[in-house]
Subunit: 309 residues, 4 copies
C-alpha cells in the first residue's frame, strides 16, 4: 500500500558513438559515478545520491539512441504479476535473467506501441550513496564533481502510438496522467506526462512518426542555482546547449537541454511540483504549446520537435 | 498500483487561544489562503499550491495543540478497507459523516498508541491552486503573500508508545520507515520518520511521556532562498523563532522552527531527499542525535525535547 | 578620498510611445516605485531600495530611446570642477537649473562622441527606501511588487566614437576600464565596460554607426533566484524576452534582456564580480565574443548587434 | 577620482596555535589558496577570485589573534600622502620595506586608538584568479574546494577608543560611516561600520575594554546557497559554529560565524546592500541591538560581546 508496484525509473541504456569520449563525458561533465563495466563492454553509472548500483548504462554503437528504459518494482512477486498482466493485455514479454546487467535481478522486457523497449525489474544491489546508513553526512565530494545530478529521473520518448503506450502504462502498470498537450483537434494528445509516484513525471511521450526515438533522459538537480552551475560547466566544457537555463510550463521545472558527444539530448533540471494520482491532469492547448514547453520564450525552438536520437 | 492507499497528509486541526489573532497570523504571516468558516467557528486554510479545499483548520480553545491529523486515501473503497483492517487489528474506529468538515467526505477516525487522533478520508473538494487546469501560469500572487508555503507537509507527534503507533502505520496503512534515532540501548527508537510516498517523511514521532502532544506541523517551501525569506518575514512580524534557518541531518531538509501566537510550533522547510520504500532506513545513534536533528549546530536546543503543545 | 567624484548612475530618462501603458509596465511589471509627475508630463520612478527621489524617468514621444543618462557626483564643488574640466577638455557643457527635474539639483549636461547626452549632478532628495534610518527591517513589501529591482544600475550605449567617449569618461571623469571586446584587428574596441566604483560596470558602450542609441538600461536583482522570478513575471505579463535567463561572460552577471512596450530593451540582472581600478582589464577577442556576451549559448543572438532604440 | 585613495582591505595577518593544523584548515575547510611561505615561517593565502598574491597570512604563536589588518591604496604617491597626513594628524607611523611580506610593496604601519596595527600599501603582485585576462571562464575548480570564498572582505575589531579610530579612518583615510549602534545614552557608539567603497563595510569596530582584539575576519561568498554549503562543510569538518546561517540586520548580509582551530572567529557571508558615501548612516538603538546583529533571533548570543581573540 502507499508506494507499491512500479517505484521509479531504474536504468536507461544508451548508445554512444565513441565509448571512451562518452565515459569521460558522463563521468567528468555530467558527473555520474562509474560503478562498473561488463563483458559486453557496457559501462555503468549512477548519480551520486542514488543507492542502487546503476541507473545509466552506455554502450558503443553506430547510431546514438536509447536501447531500453526500465522501472524498478517493489518485489519479485510484483514483477511476476506485471509479467502476467502484460501478457493478459496481449503484450509479448521477454525474461532477461538476473546478472545480464551487472548487479541487477531478472528483468521483464516488452515493447510499447511507441516502439520503445521497456523493462521492469525488482532487484538491484544497494551500493549506497557514499554515506553510511548510520549517522550520515548531508552530502559527499562527488556531489560537486561535474554537474553531479542527484538521480536519473525520467525520459521523454518519441514514437507513433502514444495512446497505446499510455494505456499500458496507466492501466497495466499503474501510472497516472499528470499533464498533456492537445493537438489542433482538441482531442488528440501531442504529448503526455505520466507518473508512478509523486513526481510530476516518471516518463513522458511525444507523438512522432518514427518509432523508438528518445528526446532526452533527464537528471535531477537540487536547485535553480545548481541549474546555473550545470550551464556553466557545460559552457566550460563546450557542451552544445539546446536551450536553457529556463523553465518548463509543463511540470514547472527549471531546466537545460544539452547534447552528449553522440548527439543524445539530456536534461538537467530542478524543481517542478509534486503530483498525486487524485489530481486533475493539466491540459495545454496547441496554441499555447510554446509556453507549455519553454515558459519564458513562449515558443518551441526548432530542435524540440525534430532532433531526436 | 504505484501510488495507492494512503496518498498524503490531508488536514491538521489545531487549537488556538485567540481565533482572530490566529486567523491574521496564518493568513498574513504564514500566508495560507483562508477557504471557509463553519458553524462550529472553525476556520479553514489551504496552502496556495494545494488543490483540495483545506489542509489546516484552527479552532479556539483553552489550550493549544492538535485535535487530529488526517491522511487522504485514494478511494472510498480503500477507506472502507482501511476501516476494516484497523478494526481487525484491534483498533476502535469512528465514522465521521461527510460534511462535518467543510468540503470533506466521510472520515474514519482512530487513536494511535501515542495518544493522537488520526483520520483517513477519500474526498475533499478540488478548488484548484488559483490557476486553471488548461494553460496555467507557473505561480500566482498568493505565492508571495506572507511565507506562502506550497503545502502542509507533515507533522511530528510526541507520545508514549511510538512502537505501537509505527506498527499500525506500517503494517495496516502501508507506511515505511525512512529514518530513526536510537536511544542509548541501541535498540529502542527515540524517534521515527515514516513515509507513505516518496517524501522523506509524511509523519514522524518522538517518544515522550505525555500522550497526544504535537511538536510541529510542517509547511513546505520551494527553496533555501524561500527559507531565508520566511525567517525574514517571521522577524518582521516578531514571530518567536525556535531555531533556524538551518539544516536537519535527518531528511537533509533546510528548516526553521517557530511558534504561532498560541505557542504551537510550526516548521517551514525546504528540500531533503526523496525516499523509496525499497531503501534501507537511516539510523542515528544517540551520541550523534544533535547532528541528526540540527546538522549545523550539532546539538539539540533546550526546546526540542521539552516544548510541545 | 576612497569614493569621490562620480559616485554612480543617478537617472536615465527614456522615451516611450504610450505613457499610460508604460506607467503600468514600469510600475507593475518591472516593479519600480512611482515617485512623481511633472508639468512636462514626465513620470518619475525609483527602485525600491534606492534612496534618492528618482532614477528612471519616462516621457511620451514618437520614438523610443534614451534622452539622457546621468551620474551623481559627490558634491556641488565636484560638479563645478567637472564642468570646468570638461570645458577645458573642449567639450561644450550646459547648465540645467535645479528643479528642472523633480527633487534634483543643478545638472551639467554634455554630449559624448557616441552621440549621447550625459549629465552630472550633485543633489537629489533622499526619500529613503521605505524603511527608517533607525532600526530598519531588511526589506519591504515593495521588494516583491513586480520584478522589483534594487536599483537602476547601468546602461549600454551604442554609438560611433566609443574611443572618444571612453577618453572623456576615463580621463576627465575618473572611470576605469573593466572589460573590452576587440574587433578582428585585435586593436579596435568593439565594446568597453567602464566603472566609477567597485561595480563591474557603471556604463558600457558598443561601437555602432548610428549615434545616440541605447541597447539597454539595466536594473539590479539580488540573486539568480530573483532572475528566475523576473523571467516568470515577464512571461506571465507576456513581455517579449530577448534572451535569458543566462549568464554573461563579460562581468559574469546572470541576466535577462527583455523589451518594454515601446521596444526599449531593459536588463534585469544579478551578480557578477566586484572590480577595482588597480585590476587588469579583461579582454575578449572577436572569435570568442559569443561566449563573452552570452556565456551559455556561446553565440550572439540576432538582436544583440542590431536592435537598439 | 571615483575610486581613489584607500581601495580595499588587502591582507590580514593572524596568529594560530598550530601552524600545520591551521594550514590544513584554511586550505581545505575555508578553501583559501596557499600562495607562499616565507623565511619567518608565515603561510600566505588568497581567496580564489582575488588577484593579488595574498590576503590572509598566518603565523604560529602562543596566543591567537590579529597581528595587523591592511588596506591597499591606489598608488605609491597616495601611500606617501597618507603617511604624511597621518603624521600631521599626530600618529606615529612606521615604514616596512617592500618584500617584508611576500610579493608586497612598502607598507606604512600605525596603531589606531582601538589598539590595532593598521597598514597601508600600494603594491602587491597580481597573480590572477586562475583565469587568463583574455577570454576567461566564469569560475575555476578552486571555487568549489572547501568553502571557497571569493575574497577576504573585512574585519570587526574590538578595542577601547573606537571614536578616535573612526576619526582617523574617516578624516584622514576617507572612509565613511555606514551604520552604527548607540549605547543606552543615545549618543555613544557601541559599534560602527565604515566603508571606503560601495561595500556596506570595509572595517567595523566594537567598543571593548581590552585593546587590539579581533571579533572576526570575514570572507565573502556569492550567494545564500553558498552560505548553506559553507555551514554544511563546517559541520562535516566538525568546525565550531558560533551562529548561523542567519541574517544580520546591520548591512543585511547573510552569515555564519565560526571558529578556526585556534579559536579565532571568522565569518563567511553573502549579500547585504551596496552603500554610497552620500547615504545617510543607519542607526540602531541599544534596545534593538539584538535584531541589528542577528536579524532572525533578535537577540545577541552570549559569545558576541565576550569571545574575541
Amino acid at each position: 500500500m502507499a508506494m507499491t508496484g512500479v517505484l521509479r525509473p531504474g536504468h536507461a541504456q544508451m548508445r554512444v558513438l565513441d565509448l571512451e569520449e562518452s565515459i569521460k563525458f558522463y563521468s567528468d561533465v555530467v558527473g555520474l559515478v562509474e560503478t562498473g563495466r561488463d563483458a559486453q563492454g557496457r559501462v555503468y553509472f549512477k548519480a551520486w545520491d542514488e543507492r542502487d548500483h546503476n541507473s545509466f548504462i552506455i554502450r558503443q554503437a553506430d547510431k546514438p539512441g536509447l536501447d531500453f528504459f526500465s522501472f524498478k518494482v517493489d518485489s519479485h512477486a510484483t514483477l511476476l504479476k506485471f509479467d502476467a498482466d502484460l501478457q493478459a493485455y496481449g503484450i509479448k514479454t521477454e525474461r532477461i535473467p538476473a546478472g545480464e546487467l551487472l548487479e541487477t535481478g531478472e528483468r521483464v522486457r516488452f515493447m510499447i506501441p511507441t516502439g520503445h523497449q521497456i523493462e521492469l525489474y525488482a532487484e538491484k544491489t544497494d551500493v549506497g550513496n557514499g554515506q553510511p546508513y548510520t549517522n550520515p553526512e548531508a552530502w559527499i565530494p562527488e556531489a560537486e564533481h561535474g554537474i553531479a545530478p542527484v538521480r536519473m529521473d525520467h525520459a521523454l520518448l518519441y514514437g507513433p502510438d502514444i495512446d497505446g503506450a499510455r494505456d499500458i502504462l496507466v492501466n497495466v502498470l499503474g501510472f497516472y496522467l499528470v499533464e498533456r498537450i492537445l493537438l489542433e483537434d482538441g482531442k488528440t494528445d501531442l504529448a503526455v506526462w505520466l507518473s508512478c509516484s509523486t513526481k510530476a513525471h516518471d516518463i513522458a511521450m511525444v507523438r512522432h512518426p518514427e518509432p523508438g526515438k528518445v528526446h532526452h533522459v533527464a537528471f535531477l538537480l537540487d536547485s535553480w542555482e545548481k541549474v546555473l552551475r550545470a550551464a556553466d560547466i557545460m559552457s566550460m566544457n563546450r557542451v552544445k546547449i539546446d536551450i536553457g537555463p529556463t523553465r518548463h510550463g509543463v511540470t514547472r521545472g527549471t531546466t537545460i537541454y544539452a547534447f552528449d558527444p553522440s548527439g543524445n539530448r539530456f536534461e538537467t533540471f530542478s524543481g517542478g511540483y509534486s503530483s498525486y494520482p487524485d489530481w486533475h491532469p493539466i491540459t495545454w492547448t496547441i496554441d499555447d504549446v510554446g509556453r507549455g514547453i519553454f515558459y519564458h520564450d513562449r515558443a518551441l525552438n526548432d530542435a524540440f520537435l525534430t532532433v531526436v536520437t
